[in-house]
Amino acid sequence: MIPALLSLASCALWKGRSAEPLESGFLRPDEEAVRRRDLIAVLPVDNLTGTRAPLESVEAILRAHLDRRGFRIVDDRTLARVMKRYRVRDTGSLNSRVSGAIKEETGAAGVLVTSLGVFSDEQSPRISLLSRLVVGGDHPEIAWMDGVGLAGNGHFGMLELGRIEEIDDLLEVAARCLVESLAISFFGTETPEPSKTRNAFNECDSRGDVVYSPPEAKGKKRFRPRNVFGSPIVDANRRYSMAVIPFLNLSQRKNAGKILELHFVNQLLRNESLTVVEPGLVREELLAHRVVMEAGPSLANAEILSNDESLGVDLVFSGVVFDYQDAVGIPKVDFSVTVIDKENHKVVWSSRSHGTGEEGVFFFDMGMVHTAHQLASEMARGTSEALNR
């Protein structure tokens, strides 16, 4: 009787997740960006954990999964030679010089840039990875992006059979999910076809499975911004180019500003009205102009990026992060965002968001968010959706 009930329950869960078809979801259907036999360069993982982390192991596991899935990868010695020649220190972003050099010297059609947000095995293992595929050589553009945040004590199922105790096992699940998301997005069918709608996409969920997210799907209400200012001067029918600046970090967590920047790039890429610039290009311009954002978003910084001689973006997205707790305990995220436009040199959007993983949870941890990655991702999605209304 009990085995029958168990199998029925697991079938119900399985059916609920895989009922949606896993369609090929291109982010850039009009580009012949990367095909199955093209080379991909895998940059060393960027450490945003704020502590020491086994980056080589993470990179090795990612490479193994990419290889297993059929991707052709530039060998690490060739890539290391290029990085040494061009003195590449920042592996979390790609500027035009390095992107062009990698394409020219290795023949890679795309570069996989990965950032490690969390790698913790205190109390219960937690991991967070954000990855994007950048193409375009001298004019790098993001062709695909996804992130995965997992906790060993999240979604452990009946009798805790699904609980993951070891961080290495969690890393395997996370890496597999990311690579699968990349593979489905580009090679979902034998002959790659553009998705039916521009911003249909696949993403890794909090269980480490790749799920299809149709464009009409909306995020939950609890993750939406608390206070919102939206100027009516933004035309809802127009397409805007946007640069996302690293957030000003006023939290105790190191690199929280960069982590939130990546979450927003990930979610804003899915917004039909926006073209998001590769963060490496933004960094390149800010460094070139010696910009130091000591106090948060300003019109002067926005003007640098919106200048036609630099990036020429229409909107500059930035903000302040006040809290980002992820390694232990209940996750907590608190930030505000500001969008400044080029034409009017004014704030056209401002919002404040804050939340914890246990908000709105009353019975048996239903609805609990176990990682700050997932919480930040949902809140960024809520802000992006509110931006589009």
Binding site: R226, N227, V228, F229, L250, M293, E294, A295, G296, P297, S298, L299, A300, N301, V320, F322, D334, S336, T338, I340, K346, V347, S350, S351, R352, H354, T356
Partner: protein, 191 residues
């Protein structure tokens, strides 16, 4: 025969005393000669922090600026822009900017008024075995051309309530208490 005093008279006297006390502690000042409708844009200066939390003033300032902007009544400059303006006028003393500094700042940033403030409490407060979060903020609005205070108000929200004492629970989250204080201040601005 002694005349019995009406109980209603005692209640009326007590009520009048309470009312007078309440009036005596009113914490809002609105300049009657100021045309608040003429304000188009304001700058919210960094608040002074009298608490033990290093970022308390930044959090409250951000929350206030966001909610004020969200009302649509005035345009609020982004914080980086305010910092740039402060950089042009020199160091602002902890007590607040002088009238001269206000005028220079207003010219540099093209604003109509400046809002300054002090955060005097931010964080948990204990009463016996019960604890809860409390926020205490006081703000001032200074008009650009005259350099005088045209509005000031204060608000204290949170703290240990009767329910916290009886049932425990730790009170409301810090962000919720902050939002309540900010909304209270805005109610006092737009009254």
């Amino acid at each position: 025969m002694k005349r019995r005093e009406s109980p209603h008279r005692k209640v009326a006297i007590a009520f009048t005393l309470v009312l007078l006390t309440r009036c005596a502690t009113e914490d809002v000042f609105l300049d009657p000669n100021m045309d608040f409708g003429s304000l188009q844009s304001v700058a919210v200066l960094p608040f002074e922090n009298l608490t033990q939390d290093d970022f308390a003033a930044a959090r409250v300032r951000d929350a206030f600026a966001n909610v004020l902007l969200a009302t649509g009544a005035v345009y609020v400059l982004p914080p980086g822009e305010v910092a740039r303006g402060i950089g042009t006028i020199g160091r602002i003393p902890p007590e607040g900017p002088s009238s001269e500094q206000i005028k220079k700042l207003a010219n540099a940033l093209k604003i109509d008024a400046v809002i300054t403030g002090v955060v005097s409490e931010y964080g948990p407060v204990r009463s016996g075995t019960a604890s809860a979060n409390v926020v205490s903020v006081s703000l001032q609005m200074i008009e650009k051309s005259s350099g005088v205070v045209v509005w000031s108000a204060s608000s204290t929200k949170g703290g240990v309530s009767v329910w916290d004492r009886l049932l425990g629970g730790g009170g409301e989250p810090m962000n919720t208490v902050t939002e309540k204080a900010v909304n209270d201040l805005l109610d006092k601005l737009f009254q």
